[in-house]
């Protein structure tokens, strides 16, 4: 597992994975669970240690980000098209960002990964096979950290921050009378799906209700072994700053 990088299913026959020496770490979890904040902190932490870091985010490919935005505004997406838009976006990022970065020895931090697509498709269709076949070309990550939260805490948090929107509430599924009811049902289903996958795919589960500093520490502890086992660990010892204190080791909440 350590050296043999694998495709999730039917892979990209025209690409060779054997020389991907970087590390691929995915942070998963439902909407509003704090993924992007933690990824920012992780990137800082890793870069201070001298690791090259590339971050990649769901639906942020050059090819597809605008298309997906426009498509979602129309509210007329069927299940297949929605999942295939995600898959196209992912493939574009995989081939243009993730694989080249891994080849150059970067650590890639992925804000969401294929499991998000699995969860969203499964709650819409009840079918788990097709979507996994579709994403067969995905590279299996070295580590998946799953920020787990319960739906009640999540609802409060989302209302306090970004507010609930149509798609995060799964309004296309007509689960509830209003945004709030629908949000709770939809996100509840997603969390159930993630929980099942956590066992199936051996996610590292992190309780996202903890204070951010604690979560960050746990994430770092999970990532650390990957770095040490990485034959690429820098030979150059970290420079001691005159004061003896490394800023990156300070509290991540600052």
């Amino acid at each position: 597992m350590e050296d043999a990088r694998q495709y999730f299913g039917d892979g990209l026959a025209y690409l060779n994975l054997s020389d991907l020496k970087g590390r691929l770490i995915a942070i998963e979890g439902t909407d509003g669970v704090g993924r992007s904040t933690h990824i920012e902190l992780l990137q800082e932490w890793l870069e201070v240690q001298g690791y090259g870091v590339v971050t990649t985010g769901w639906t942020r490919s050059n090819l597809m980000s605008k298309t997906i935005e426009v498509a979602k505004q129309g509210n007329i997406l069927d299940r297949w098209s929605l999942s295939l838009l995600y898959a196209t976006d992912f493939a574009d990022r995989l081939e243009h960002q993730i694989i080249p970065a891994l080849r150059s020895g970067f650590i890639v931090l992925a804000d969401r990964y294929i499991y998000t697509a699995f969860a969203r498709d499964a709650v819409r269709s009840g079918d788990r096979k097709w979507i996994r076949d579709v994403f067969g070309f995905a590279v299996v990550p070295d580590l998946v950290c799953y920020l787990r939260i319960d739906v009640d805490t999540l609802a409060l948090r989302v209302i306090e921050t970004s507010g609930m929107n149509y798609w995060e509430s799964g309004m296309d599924m007509k689960l509830g009378a209003d945004l709030y009811d629908s949000f709770k049902k939809y996100q509840g289903l997603l969390i159930e799906e993630f929980d099942k996958m956590a066992e199936e795919f051996k996610f590292e589960v992190v309780d996202a209700r903890k204070p951010p500093e604690e979560i960050q520490d746990i994430l770092r502890a999970q990532i650390e072994p990957l770095l040490k086992n990485n034959g690429r660990k820098p030979d150059i010892p970290l420079e001691q700053s005159p004061s003896g204190a490394l800023p990156a080791n300070s509290s991540p909440s600052s």
């Binding site: 039917d10 026959a13 605008k66 298309t67 007329i76 295939l84 898959a87 097709w130 070309f137």
Partner: protein, 250 residues
């Protein structure tokens, strides 16, 4: 969710009929489909026509991706699958459920052939399109590569297009030569697909009328058990005015 899963490998249960044509560029398949449509409409059938890679959802993206040459074999494949999914949902399923005849210019087999030639795993593409509906009739217009090239160069189509000629594969700097190599490989793939999915092969070097005759005979057989729902709109108006003893206003 409550529907039985759609799959390419078993016949669909809808009251309508799905007829598709396949073949390389220059095989004459679109001409044949157009002639078939004329005939069916003249017989009073409700016909709906849909064409490969035509949905609004991804048309702009595909165009942009092609223009900037940023498409990889996999994103190329996925964009076409997205287009197909969207058309299946909006254009193909509703008329089939309504009992209409749907005519499709190219179908999933186009993806099976092209994507395989581009180096995408054939098994993966088949799984990707697993949600597609099996056509009631699938025609493959078989034509030698030189015939296709001379038709295209002699016709109004002008230059070959970048992706249609497989220029992204670096087969040749010369557009026509690249088209020849790429489309020849597609022909080889089609041969496999035709037997895998039991498509009807039409010799596309025959005269247009001969091919159309053959096609109409096949379609006529396939429609024997079919109970068309004849369209009432267009007639209703006349009936309405007649009932009140009035002449139809301008």
């Amino acid at each position: 969710m409550s529907q039985p899963p759609l799959t390419l490998n078993q016949p669909h249960q809808f009251p309508g009929k799905l007829i598709i044509v396949e073949g390389i560029d220059g095989s004459g398949k679109s001409t044949q489909l157009l002639l078939l449509q004329k005939w069916l409409v003249s017989k009073g059938f409700n016909v709906f026509f849909t064409e490969w890679n035509s949905s609004e959802l991804v048309r702009e993206t595909t165009r942009r991706g092609k223009k900037s040459k940023a498409l990889t074999p996999t994103t190329f494949s996925l964009l076409h699958a997205t287009d197909f999914a969207n058309r299946l949902y909006h254009d193909i399923l509703p008329p089939l459920k309504a009992g209409m005849i749907v005519l499709a210019d190219r179908y999933v087999y186009t993806a099976f052939a092209r994507d395989a030639v581009r180096g995408v795993s054939p098994a993966w593409v088949r799984k990707l399109y697993n949600f597609a509906i099996r056509p009631d009739l699938a025609f493959y217009f078989k034509v030698p590569i030189e015939v296709a090239i001379s038709r295209l160069l002699g016709g109004m189509r002008g230059q070959f297009k970048y992706y249609e000629a497989g220029m992204d594969m670096g087969l040749s700097q010369d557009l026509t030569e690249s088209f020849r190599i790429f489309q020849s490989r597609i022909l080889t793939e089609y041969d496999k697909i035709v037997s895998e999915y039991e498509m009807i092969t039409v010799d596309a070097t025959q005269e247009i009328e001969e091919q159309q005759n053959e096609m109409r005979q096949r379609v006529s057989q396939a429609l024997e058990q079919y109970k068309p729902k004849r369209g009432t709109h267009g007639r209703r108006e006349t009936v309405f005015w007649r009932r009140f003893g009035l002449s139809k206003p301008e």
